[in-house]
Amino acid sequence: MSPQKKGWKEVPLAGVCWISSTEYKTGDWRSYKPVWNTEKCTRCMFCHIYCPEGAIKHDQETDNMVFDYDFCKGCGICANECPADAIEMVLEGKE
């Protein structure tokens, strides 16, 4: 119960969001972090397609797969789907 939070007279009705979800960094839910191996990666883009958070992008200039750790929840789907075994899930803080 935080005094900074809006009271019942102020919150918008029906749970309407008055803050964008982009301000809610879900990356800190993560316990395992995907670590990308540029050597093994074939740039098949499976990880980009499978990521449920849209947190993996391909940078055309550098040809790198870029992980957005602000929103990656560490679900591990990318590592599971990677046909080249180029993504390793590493315990946070141990990478």
């Binding site: 939070k5 009271g7 029906a14 749970g15």
Partner: protein, 409 residues
């Protein structure tokens, strides 16, 4: 607003509801047939097929989906209606809470019918009483005329910006739904003007912009998302506040409607019948009130100071009206057409008993569970209740607090 000229047409309760909905300029109706409600959506689908209404009619595969469809349509700002009964209402249960939590003012007629098992298609109030705490406004009609009038009023109540809560109108299965009655019908234009166009409040969206409270691609909005320990409680408190405000809104809408229809149902929340100087009284919901009034008239002719309090609104509960009307009465019988198994009497008894607790001098209160599964409740049975009340008023003694009436031993 002056009283308008009305046409009297023979309609059963279901047809009266369908006719009211037809006049209310409803955008979306999603429904699934169930006895004794079927006639409502059947008739309404004919209006749609014949081009008499400009309504999107959605045939769904279950009542759960009917309610889901109404909620989502209502969330876009549409005026929505559905109808159900018994098992259909029970199947909707989960989505009823979503409707009230999302503040979607869906209007629904519930043609009150017993719950299974054993299976029974006839009238009692078990279906709606199960939904007492789900956040819906509950109004109950005494006759088909009132069902017609209440549906029209329900749109105004539900969509009022201080309320924004879904509203159900109960009418007794078969007793009203399938019984032909003379019903006074307002002209289409008068109803259209009375209900008006649905308004929505402004809310702050995720971009910090004030936008209309409706799903609209031009102004994206998220309604009813995950709401955990930090805000869920606040949203529930808001619903409670709106319920309290609904007490006044129901009365105001009822008064405004009465000016053009000439028909009043008490103050809109409760109807007191020959109750002012009454010493003994019954309280009931729905069509039984019609029978009770006949009995009260006969008793009055014989000098018995009998009265009736009919609950038109059950949620929100008009506590002040209950208290003021029962103050000074000697003995009161609460008639419940539903059973709260293992409870201290029926659901209405619980409510009335708690409402009068603060009275300095409480009337003696007894409870009669009656009419389950459509069991007939003839005048002599109600007369028996008043006889019992006279005895309690004289002696001050209650033999049986909760009784089942019309039941074979």
């Amino acid at each position: 607003m002056a009283k308008v000229e009305q046409e009297i047409v023979p309609l059963n309760g279901d047809n009266a509801v369908a006719y009211a909905v037809k006049q209310c300029d409803v955008d979306v109706v999603a429904a699934y047939p169930i006895t004794p409600q079927t006639i409502i959506v059947e008739k309404f689908s004919e209006y749609v097929a014949d081009g008499e209404v400009d309504t999107e009619f959605v045939c769904v595969e279950s009542e759960h989906t009917a309610m889901t469809c109404c909620i989502t349509a209502s969330a876009t700002g549409a005026r929505t209606f559905t109808a159900t009964a018994s098992a259909g209402l029970a199947l909707m249960h989960e989505m009823l809470g979503v409707a009230s939590g999302c503040r979607t003012p869906v209007v629904m007629s519930v043609v009150n019918r017993a719950l299974s098992a054993p299976i029974n298609i006839h009238c009692d109030h078990s279906d709606a009483m199960c939904e007492r705490d789900i956040g819906w406004i509950q109004l109950y009609a005494e006759n088909s005329q009132e069902a017609y009038d209440s549906i029209i009023q329900a749109f105004r109540i539900a969509e009022n910006l201080d309320v924004m809560l879904p509203t159900m109108v109960g009418l007794d299965g078969f007793v009203l739904s399938h019984t032909l009655e003379n019903v006074s019908i307002l002209p289409d234009e008068a109803v259209k003007k009375f209900v008006g166009t649905r308004q929505v409040p402004m809310v702050m969206n995720h971009q910090g912009k004030l936008v209309p409270f409706k799903l609209d691609p031009a102004n994206p909005l998220t309604i009813g998302p995950l709401d955990l320990q930090d805000y869920y409680f606040e949203h529930k408190r808001q619903q409670e506040e709106s319920m309290r405000k609904a007490l006044d809104v129901i009365k105001q809408v009822h008064d405004e409607y009465a000016k053009q229809s000439g028909r009043r149902y008490g103050n809109g929340l409760v109807e007191a019948y020959r109750l002012d100087d009454a010493e003994i009284a019954t309280i009931c919901i729905g069509s039984t009130a019609g029978t009770v009034k006949t009995v009260v008239d006969e008793l009055r002719e014989n000098g018995v100071k009998a009265g009736l309090l009919r609950m038109r609104a059950f949620r929100p509960l008009p506590v002040e009206d209950i208290v003021s009307n029962l103050s000074g009465k000697k003995a009161v019988a609460v008639m419940d057409r539903a059973c709260s198994f293992g409870g201290n009497g029926g659901p209405l008894f619980h409510e009335i008993r708690h409402a009068v607790y603060d009275l300095p001098s409480r009337p003696k209160l007894v409870n009669y569970i009656y009419g389950l599964g459509g069991r007939d409740t003839p005048p002599y049975m109600i007369d028996g209740i008043y006889k019992e009340l006279q005895k309690i008023a004289e002696t001050g003694e209650i033999e049986n607090k909760v009784q089942f009436i019309g039941l074979r031993e």
